[in-house]
Structure formats: C-alpha cells, structure tokens
C-alpha cells in the first residue's frame, strides 16, 4: 500500500507491504542506514528515531503507522556540517566506544532533552533506560547527555 511521510524534512512516498517495519523502510527504501537494527525485539533502542518529535523504536512500528508523520533520523539531526549539540557532546565526552548503539542513543537523548531540558544524572539514566550499550559505556554517555543539556541551556546548573 502507498505510504508517504516526511523524513528529515523531505517528502518520501513508496508502495510497501503493510508488514514492512519503519526501520526497514528507512534503511531499505529511503537508504538511510544510520538507524541500526540491534536486537530487533524493542529492547536495545539502536533503532530509535523521532516520530513527530518523540522517540520511538522503529523496529516495533509499521511504516504504515507513520503515514503522514514527520520522521527524524540521525542523518537529519545536524543541519549542515556543524554537529547537533548532542552529537557534539558525544564527540567531546567520548560517549561511544564501538558506535553501534550511538545513533539510537543520540536520538533517544535528543527526544529526552526536548521533554526534560535540565535533567539530573538520575533522570538521564532513567530517560535512556530503553537503550543498551553492549560496550557498557554508560558513564560517558550519561556525561555527554548532561553536557549537552548544559550547553543548550547556556548555563550549567
């Protein structure tokens, strides 16, 4: 069936089977392979994207459910050559090791900071509970999210 949505600000439209998952749609129809398939069971969060501004696990959503929505993937985060503040913070605070979880971590963090711009460390940990890092690099990921929050608010509390 025909599905159309906005992905990273551009219109996308394809004829897909209803059973096609959003993550497959993004990777295989839109050729946006920054979004990863990790566990494929909605546990690990590697496939996290924003749908209408909210973080979702794109392995557990059908592409047809996103009809008419506005989807943001890791490729759409930085407007140009300049990194998004969350990407910049992950870069500066070594918020990644192997990098496989990173796209999902960054997208989950962007969605979380939009809902809670000045979180405590505990709130960051709870906010990212849906994302797993098998390198167990959580400490620097949390540091990165806190740093991004501080840089966005301008003043560190």
């Amino acid at each position: 069936m025909q599905v159309s949505m906005s992905v990273n600000g551009g219109a996308q439209g394809h004829d897909v089977e209803p059973r096609v998952l959003l993550v497959q749609y993004l990777r295989e129809e839109c050729n946006l392979t920054g979004t990863k398939v990790g566990c494929d069971t909605s546990s690990c969060g590697a496939c996290t994207v924003l749908v209408d501004g909210e973080s979702v696990k794109s392995c557990t959503m059908l592409a047809v459910q996103a009809e008419g929505s506005s989807v943001t993937t890791i490729e759409g985060l930085a407007p140009g050559d300049e990194l998004h503040p969350v990407q910049q913070a992950f870069h500066e605070h070594h918020g990644l090791q192997c990098g496989f979880c990173t796209a999902g971590m960054v997208m989950a963090a962007v969605g979380f900071l939009d809902e809670n711009p000045n979180p405590t460390e505990r709130e960051v940990r709870l906010g990212l509970e849906g994302n797993l890092c098998r390198c167990t690099g959580y400490q620097n990921i949390v540091d990165s999210v806190l740093a991004a929050a501080a840089s966005k608010s301008g003043v560190s509390s």
């Binding site: 089977e17 059908l62 047809v64 969605g111 509970e129």
Partner: protein, 274 residues
C-alpha cells in the same frame, strides 16, 4: 524478523473500528500503539490476517473528570498518563505505575487500552485496575457495556472482550495523589516485572494486586483478609503466594516467584500502612 503478511485497514472512528471487527471476525486484531502486538507478530506467535489500526481514533485519547471517578480514554498513551495533572491529583497510582511501563520510547507509543486488552499477566497497569476495582467500558455492535475489572481478565492473553468489541474507556475511582506503593522487580529497568506487587490504601482498607504470579493479573485476597483482621504486614505478606500458580521461565522458577511475591507484598503494604 518480519511479521507474516496481513491486510491493513485504518479505522477513523470507534464506530468504524467496531464495524470493521464485525466484518473481519476472528481473523482481525486491533492495533493501537503496537507495543505488545507487533513483537508477537514479529515472532509469529500472533498471525492476524487483518490489522485494524485504531491508533488515530483521536476521541479515545483523554483523561477527564467523571465526578466520582476519572475517565481515561483507551487510546491514551502511557506518556500522557505519566504527565497528566488530573491523574496526579485524583488517582496518583495510575500516573505513577504508567511511568514504570517499558521505557520512554515504549511509553510514547503504547496505550493503556492496548496494554489492558492484551491481557498479559506481566503488565503493570492491569494490577492497578484490579486493586482499584476499576470499571472498563467496551463498545460492540449492540452498544456499550461496563465490565468490572475483576471479571475482565479470564486467562493468559484472554479477556472478557468479545471478538467484535473495542475497549473504549477505563474508569478509576478518585483515590487521591498517594496511598499506594508499587514494587516492581526486574533485571533491567525497561523489562516486564519478574514479579510485581501493588498495595493501595483507601480509608482503612488495603487492597493488594500481583503482577506475573499466574496466567492473569491477580488480587491477593488472603493478604487483604489478614490485614483486615488486624495481622501485621509481615504476617499478612507471608500469605501473598497462597493460591497462586506462577509460571517458571529463564528469569525465575515458580518457587522463586512465590518468594518474591512475599517479599514485595511485605514492602508494599508496609509502605502504605499508616
């Protein structure tokens, strides 16, 4: 993992959803947020031939003051429960337990009605309905009917909803902002409860509900009766697993689940005791 092929239809209203259920019969499943159903379909444990997507039926997403109760639309998402001021003031236990469901991403998509209609004994919110003696409202071809929560959960993933009925509203009594304690035991923060115990206290009465201690969510009547007779929390909690038949799986044996139920019920009822 890819679900088996199915036909997809989008319902624009509750009436249209009920009509589509009547048209497609037992082969159809309702899709709300999909947080329970899509994983089952990917594992091919569920193989519906028609999916009726009710996710955009906007007039089923609300939290309203219903006088002596709070009325919650079945398609209200966990995230919207978690951040709702009316619930926080009038029935804080719903707000608080909704915040324990899954993780942020799951709560952005998952709905209270979808979770309840799925009938999973490991889910968090059914325990709240049981402990509060909530009322569920279902719409079918002949109109709507009220279903008391103690008659709703019939078996593993089985509820009192008929194949052509849509759960439309959940009515919870006004119990105030506090007076409850939910003890959820799991290994990872985002997981389903290995065992959960909820205690609510209204006036002198303490109600206790259990998560993942059998094929359905359960009340713990032995504990409640003992407390009503003046037993201490520890003595009452010792009865928490009586009459239960918990399953064994890779996380816990039945015996371990019974142990957890006694420990968690004790913590929960101690927390709500005056």
């Amino acid at each position: 993992m890819i679900p088996a092929a199915f036909d997809y239809v989008r319902a624009g209203s509750r009436d249209e959803a009920v009509a589509l259920l009547g048209e497609h019969g037992d082969d159809a499943k309702l899709l709300a947020g999909g947080m329970s159903l899509i994983p089952l379909m990917k594992l091919r444990l569920a193989v519906p031939t028609v999916l009726i997507d009710v996710g955009r039926v906007e007039d089923l997403s609300y939290v309203r003051d219903g006088g002596d109760h709070v009325a919650i639309g079945a398609l209200t998402r966990h995230r919207d429960l978690e951040t709702n001021d009316l619930l926080a003031a009038e029935c804080g236990v719903v707000r608080s337990v909704a915040a324990e469901v899954g993780d942020n991403q799951v709560r952005h998509r998952g709905t209270i009605g979808g979770s309840i209609a799925h009938g999973d004994p490991a889910s968090d919110l059914p325990a709240v309905l049981l402990a509060l003696d909530a009322t569920l409202v279902a719409q079918g071809p002949a109109g709507t009917r009220d279903i008391p929560s103690d008659a709703f959960f019939e078996g593993f993933l089985e509820t009192a909803l008929a194949p052509d009925e849509l759960l439309t509203e959940i009515r919870v009594p006004k119990t105030g902002p506090g007076g409850f304690s939910y003890e959820k035991f799991n290994r990872r923060a985002q997981d389903y409860a290995i065992v959960g115990a909820l205690a609510t206290r209204v006036g002198d009465a303490t109600n206790v509900a259990l998560v993942n201690m059998g094929s359905t969510p359960l009340r713990a009547p032995h504990v409640e009766d003992a407390l009503a007779s003046g037993a201490s929390p520890a003595d009452a909690a010792a009865l928490a697993a009586d009459g239960t038949e918990p399953a064994g799986d890779l996380n816990a044996s039945p015996e371990y689940r019974r142990h957890l139920a006694r420990v968690l019920v004790c913590r929960a009822i101690e927390a709500v005791a005056g």
